[in-house]
Each structure stands twice: as structure tokens, then as C-alpha cells.
Symmetry: C2
Subunit: 182 residues, 2 copies
């Protein structure tokens, strides 16, 4: 399947989030040309602001690998053969998690100008480790290849859709909006 | 209880990790002078390199708050009154998660020279948001007060202990160590 084919599946996950009144971000994880995990943003449902789409998909996958008895070096080896497709640039937390786990490649849709960890604010995909060639600790983050801007318009359209319908979990503004009385 | 008292409890969690052959990092989360959650590093047991002590403690707490029906604004409000004590400086991922959740204050033991997100490599505790005074989105990271170096020697001693006993999950060196035959 082409890159856009996988991104369409990630967009499907983002639409699922939108249907559930969540900030619409979705992703899929791909190994050997097959989707092996998917996730959508669940910050509202879980009341946990860190449950981004990537963290959801990662946890599903790692729990599965744990359940079939893969040990940590094998998990690391498998993850190093996986690619992630996500509709919006991973934030600093998610990009750092992906670096710790050692994912091979990330494709994202629109940029995340405020908190993006793959080029917009920080560049956590760019390896800063000089130990890569000589062996590394299992918890040592390393870089990953990263390509942005794939089907970005579709991703942005979902955000627009979300914010037009109103985010029910956004905090109330300190100064209430003026309502014209006619 | 004084700051060192809570750090002692975090060190107890780190010792628990050490007993389980995990990288020895531990933490507690404190609200109104009481420990309401604790966590120790579980990267080996879970085969998930992102299960740092802070993520463990955060997830326990948020699941509990979810189970008693707190909605997201209330969770955010409660978290903003919590302090975290952790034996080692939070990494970039964990510091970013704590910023997203909006914790009030972090106290840590030793510095994390390679991946520290609270001063050593990045300073995610320092707010970069200019919107703080005018209201902010629930997912907008903000800064938190951060104090390091508390009982750092004890934290370092645990690491030394761990690495002396050998990390069973460390990757094998590419070039085997030479063993003297006598």
C-alpha cells in the first residue's frame, strides 16, 4: 500500500475521534506493509490529557507483544521495523516516546506549530546519540526518519470541523464572549 | 512532611524497582501533604521502554480519578494542586507529559545528563506559552516549578548498585569483552 493509503487509514481513526467529540488525531502503525495497530486521540474519554493517538496505538501494540511473551530486546527489534502514520505531527512527548522505543520511520499530515516534536518546535527525530554505531542501552532514544505534509489538508479540515462544532472540554474563557442582544 | 521525607518515599519506590531488576527510579505524587500515588520504573516487566516511574504514577492516579467520575476540567484542576517527587530528573517525554497535565511542582534527585527535560537537555518546565494569563486549552502544556538535587547521592547510589549487578536487559556488546583465561 502507498503512503497515502496508510494515511487514509490514519485519517479514518481521526474521524472516529471526531465522532466521539475528541480532538481529531489518528494514527496507524505498520509492519511489513500491514497495519498492526491503530489509535485515536482519547484525552476526553480517559480524562487524561496525555492519551494522544500515538500513545494509544503504542500501548495496544506493546501489550499485545507482551501477552505473547516477547522479551524486551525482541520488542525493540520489532519496533525498529515499524513505521507510524499520524494525521498531525507528534508532540514533544509523543516524539520522545517514539524515539525511546526506536521506531523506524514516521509520516505525518499537518504540522503542530505549538508543540511539534518533529521539526516544528523541537527535532527529537534527529538522533543526538553518538553511540548508535557501538551499541546502545535499551532506553537510549535514537532518531527516526520523518516525513511531514502528507494529506495535510484533510487533517486540517478535521481540526476545523472539530473547533467549529466547539470543544466541550475546553476551559471557559476568563472574560465571557459578548453576546449581542437584538 | 518535609521535602526530604517525600523524597525518601520516592527512593523506597526506586529500591522496589532495583529489587525487581529494573532501572531504579521511583516517584510519589503528593496532594495537600499526602501521598496519593506512587510509581517505579517498569520498563522491563512491561517490555515497554516508556513505562518510566512518572508515567506509572500518573496513570494510576488518572485511572482512579476517572473511576470516581471526575471530568477533565476537574482532573486538570486537581493535578494543578499536585507535586511530584522523583529520584532522577524526568526525561523529555515525562517532563512533557507533566507539562501537558499541568502539575504544580516537581522535586527531583540526581540530574539526567543525557535525556533530562527539566534543565539538563531541555527545559520543558519553563513555560513557553504566552496564553497563560488569558486562558488556555486543556491540552496546552505549561511550565511548572522545578527543584533538583534533593538526596541526589542516594539516587545515584541506587543506579551504581544496579549497573554493578548488571542490567539483564541491556543489549549485548557488539565486541564481546575479553575474558582473561588463567
Amino acid at each position: 500500500m502507498a503512503v497515502t493509503g496508510f494515511m487514509e487509514l490514519a485519517l479514518d481513526q481521526a474521524k472516529l475521534a471526531l465522532d466521539n467529540l475528541e480532538v481529531p488525531v489518528g494514527c496507524v502503525i505498520v509492519e511489513n506493509g500491514k497495519v498492526i495497530s491503530s489509535g485515536s486521540n482519547k484525552t476526553n474519554a480517559t480524562r487524561n490529557a496525555t492519551r494522544h493517538a500515538e500513545m494509544e496505538a503504542i500501548d495496544v501494540l506493546l501489550r499485545e507483544w507482551q501477552s505473547i511473551g516477547l522479551d524486551q530486546p525482541l520488542v525493540a527489534e520489532k519496533f525498529a521495523g515499524c513505521d507510524l502514520y499520524v494525521t498531525c505531527e507528534p508532540c514533544i512527548m509523543c516524539a520522545s516516546a517514539l524515539a525511546i522505543l526506536g521506531i523506524r520511520e514516521v509520516y505525518f499530515g499537518c504540522a503542530n506549530d505549538k508543540f511539534g516534536g518533529c521539526g516544528s518546535v523541537m527535532s527529537l527525530h534527529e538522533s543526538s546519540s553518538s553511540d548508535d554505531l557501538t551499541g546502545r542501552q535499551d532506553t537510549r532514544p535514537r532518531g527516526f526518519k520523518c516525513t511531514g505534509g502528507i494529506m495535510a489538508e484533510e487533517a486540517v479540515a478535521l481540526f476545523r470541523n472539530f473547533y467549529e462544532q466547539g470543544n466541550p472540554n475546553a476551559p471557559k474563557p476568563h472574560r465571557p464572549f459578548r453576546v449581542d442582544q437584538q
